[in-house]
């Protein structure tokens, strides 16, 4: 049985003035999947998400969200946590959440009780009657996340959901997203911190300068990028790294403080090299490491010619004076 698609993008393109923010993007997110959209700042992630949500209209291309040609027709089944998020400062927390739920047609007698349960779940029991402006920034972010899920959506779109959260709340948010995913919700989230995507998603889409450069399952990416680096820490801090450079199968040794990174020669078998290295210098630690998504990203980006005029990694998006909206900047 084929799983229906929650999101389908075909040849989506968006320009702001002279700048191409999203370039002919194709993407299919099946229902029930947990997709991570990664890429540096200004890559076009927010613009893509805004087009999925029909907050921005594409210049070209077609899209389908939850089986509808526009998210406007399926808004009530979508939960969205934008990167530029805020609250009505003077509104009370409970009122704000109820208002957002009702705007998404999730009314009914159980709404207030559900809001209270959710607030308890995110350690915010008792803030229901407080004004939003009385909450700390972290608490406000958790309330904003609740506003995205309080109406029990079928599709959850999160734009940089971990930005500004402390490690404890980052873990809580990961748990909440995982819970929603287990409930059957399709989750699409964007982040420029690739470790977050590695921890959470099962499928990764990389965007660079408005173009999709990778669209694959995380497990397949890992399978393709086999471990070719050994991290080594000598037992004797005075040991010389040059000795390992002479070990057969080691192509290169780079030293960062007490940690040495050994790049394996193309044909070398990792197990034999580790044995030989450990024999040469007694190790405190020796570990075969996988390339991180960040390594994969840089590997892909460095292999591509810089032919397009899109925004470079880390660069801001189009300015505010063009004919269309620029990516919002705080």
């Amino acid at each position: 049985m084929t799983v229906p698609d929650a999101i389908v993008l075909r040849g989506l393109r968006k320009t702001f003035g002279e700048t191409v923010a999203v370039r002919d993007l194709d993407l299919v997110v099946p229902e029930g999947a947990l997709y991570g959209v990664i890429g540096p700042n200004g890559a076009g992630k927010t613009t893509t998400i805004r087009m999925i949500l029909s907050i921005l209209l594409p210049d070209r291309g077609a899209l389908s969200v939850l089986g509808r040609p526009s998210a406007l027709e399926a808004k009530d089944r979508i939960g969205y946590l934008p990167e530029e998020r805020g609250l009505y400062k003077r509104m009370r927390v409970g009122q704000f959440l109820a208002y957002m739920a009702r705007l998404k047609s999730a009314d009914g007698p159980g709404l207030q009780a559900r809001i209270r349960q959710w607030l308890e779940r995110i350690d915010l029991g008792g803030v229901e009657h407080k004004r939003c402006e009385e909450l700390s920034k972290g608490m406000q972010q958790k309330v904003q996340f609740l506003a995205a899920i309080v109406h029990r959506p079928a599709l959850l779109v999160l734009d940089e959901p971990f930005a500004g959260l402390d490690p404890v709340n980052q873990r809580l948010l990961r748990e909440l997203v995982t819970e929603e995913h287990r409930r059957g919700v399709t989750v699409l989230f964007s982040t420029h911190i690739m470790a977050h995507a590695e921890q959470l998603c099962d499928h990764v889409v990389m965007i660079h300068r408005g173009e999709k450069v990778l669209d694959d399952r995380l497990s397949d990416i890992r399978a393709r990028h086999v471990p070719r680096t050994v991290v080594f820490e000598p037992l004797d801090p005075a040991a010389a790294a040059e000795a390992l450079a002479r070990v057969p199968g080691v192509a290169r040794v780079s030293v960062t403080g007490r940690t040495w990174e050994l790049a394996l020669a193309p044909d070398a078998a990792p197990a034999s090299v580790i044995q030989r290295v450990a024999a040469a210098i007694p190790p405190a630690r020796v570990e075969l490491t996988r390339p991180s998504l960040e390594d994969v990203f840089f590997r892909i980006v460095s292999a591509r010619p810089a032919e397009h005029g899109g925004a470079a990694p880390g660069a801001g998006a189009a300015g505010g004076s063009g004919a269309g909206p620029a990516e919002a900047r705080p």
Binding site: I55, M91, M100, L103, R329
Partner: protein, 466 residues
């Protein structure tokens, strides 16, 4: 539509449910009420008693005595008392009671009568002989009061012309007099001297001509009567003040409601954008639903203000027994033209709010709105004096200005023909359509635009490209 109404409800509650709004809406009638009670009382405070000398050079020898008699304190007090009684006569009974001036028996009335007797100027008329020249006499007006009478300085110098009482042979006209006064002399004293001179010279001329002054005054005096307005509800005293005030009050009410609710719309839109709550909202409603909800919510806020102030106005008219002066159809027209004016200006203000990053940036873009709002104030007098002039008729069909102009005209003594009212409604509706079209396009683009504040030309470009 359900979402639009939800947004509208929140907008209404978030605006009209705040303490600031409730206090604000009550402050205006309170201030007006307090002023109505306090100003008459303040006006009745004792004026400073002025003492001094008025020098007269009178070559005719027949004017100074009359002036001296006219300026006697007892006669001044009597004249003021008569003026007060005339003013009291013209005042609506309810206002007279409210301001504490209820007849001679009223506390304020008693106070006025008392103060009139005690605080009148005490002027001593001094006749200067012909031996002293005018220039020399004038010097006393700039000098300090002499030591022997420090509290009674020289206040004025009157120089009566030689032919003031008797014409020169062959001349058509009589001569008059010159009046020189000390700097910063109270204008009421100057008026008293002028009136006294007129009275004295006229008396002298009549006497010279051998005429009986009492008889002439009797022959030339016709008492001024108050007109009585006849309406379907009966007959009542015509109230010229209210007749003139009602058109202006209706227009002011319309302007105030439109401007206040439009300003709230601008503020809340800017706030939503500044708070970054707007994108959260856009995940639940479309930009059009958001804009429509906000406009409707603030429409209700303005309607609430309109109803409240109109209700207070009607109560005031009822108190003055002048309810018949307000045609009930005017209230209906007020609601219709409020709707048209608000939707035109409000939509524009919502568009401005969506385009800017903070309130300060909105000021420049608000110029067209302010311009539209200023014109009815500037043209109030010419339009109310001639409600069917070419200017008034032409402006009636220029939205959103027409809504304000036609309210002035409808409430005037010569209301416009029905076709003009209907055409004004049609023009207003077209204005609303254009304004909503413009606002919808700007709103969608502006909401997510941060950074450089746009100019009016940029908004027009967005509207055309949107």
């Amino acid at each position: 539509m359900k979402k639009v109404l939800r947004v509208a409800k929140r907008e209404f509650v978030a605006t009209a449910g705040t303490k600031a709004f409730i206090l604000g809406i009550l402050v205006l009638p309170l201030v007006i009420g307090v002023l109505m009670l306090v100003i008459p009382r303040m006006a009745m405070e004792d004026p400073p008693a002025i003492e001094g000398r008025v020098a007269v050079i009178d070559p005719t020898g027949r004017v100074a005595a009359g002036l001296s008699a006219y300026l006697e304190p007892a006669r001044i007090a009597q004249r003021r008392r008569q003026a007060f009684e005339r003013m009291q006569e013209a005042m609506p009974p309810a206002l007279r009671t409210a301001s504490g001036m209820g007849g001679r028996g009223g506390s304020a009335g008693r106070k006025v009568a008392g103060s009139l007797a005690g605080a009148v100027p005490r002027l001593e008329i001094v006749t200067i002989g012909a031996g002293i020249g005018v220039e020399q006499a004038k010097q006393a007006l700039t000098a300090a009061a002499p030591q022997e009478r420090p509290a009674r300085p020289d206040l004025a110098l009157v120089v009566v012309h030689q032919d003031a009482v008797q014409r020169q042979p062959g001349a058509d006209r009589f001569g008059t007099y010159d009046l020189f006064v000390r700097a910063k002399l109270d204008d009421r004293v100057i008026e008293e001297i002028q009136d006294g001179m007129r009275d004295s010279i006229v008396g002298a001329r009549l006497s010279q001509a051998g005429l009986d002054r009492t008889q002439i005054e009797a022959l030339t005096t016709v008492g001024r009567v108050k007109s009585r307005t006849v309406t379907a509800q009966g007959e009542g005293r015509t109230n010229e003040v209210l007749n003139r005030l009602i058109p202006m009050a209706l227009m002011a009410l319309l302007l105030m409601s439109v401007l206040t609710s439009g300003q709230y719309l601008l503020t809340t839109t800017v706030e939503e954008k500044t708070n970054r709550v707007v994108e959260v909202l856009l995940s639940a409603v479309s930009p059009m639903e958001l804009m429509a909800g906000k406009i409707l919510g603030q429409f209700a806020v303005g309607l609430l203000m309109l109803a409240l102030y109109l209700g207070l106005g009607l109560i005031a008219l009822l108190t003055f027994a002048s309810l018949g002066l307000l045609d009930p159809a005017l209230i209906l027209f007020l609601a219709v033209f409020y709707l048209l004016a608000y939707f035109s200006l409000g939509a524009f203000m919502a568009a401005i709010g969506s385009a800017v990053n903070e309130m300060r940036e909105a000021q420049g873009l608000m110029m067209p709105v302010m311009f539209v709002v200023m014109i009815p104030w500037l043209l109030w007098l010419p339009i109310s004096r001639d409600p069917n002039s070419l200017l008034a008729v032409a402006l009636t069909f220029v939205p959103p200005l027409g809504s304000f102009v036609i309210m002035l005209r409808l409430a005037s003594s010569t209301p416009p023909p029905l076709w003009q009212t209907l055409l004004a409604i049609a023009a207003g509706a077209a204005g609303v359509w254009a304004s909503l079209w413009f606002a919808a396009r700007v709103f969608r683009i502006g909401l997510l635009m941060y950074g450089k504040p746009p100019s009016l030309a940029t908004l027009v470009r967005w509207a055309r490209s949107g």
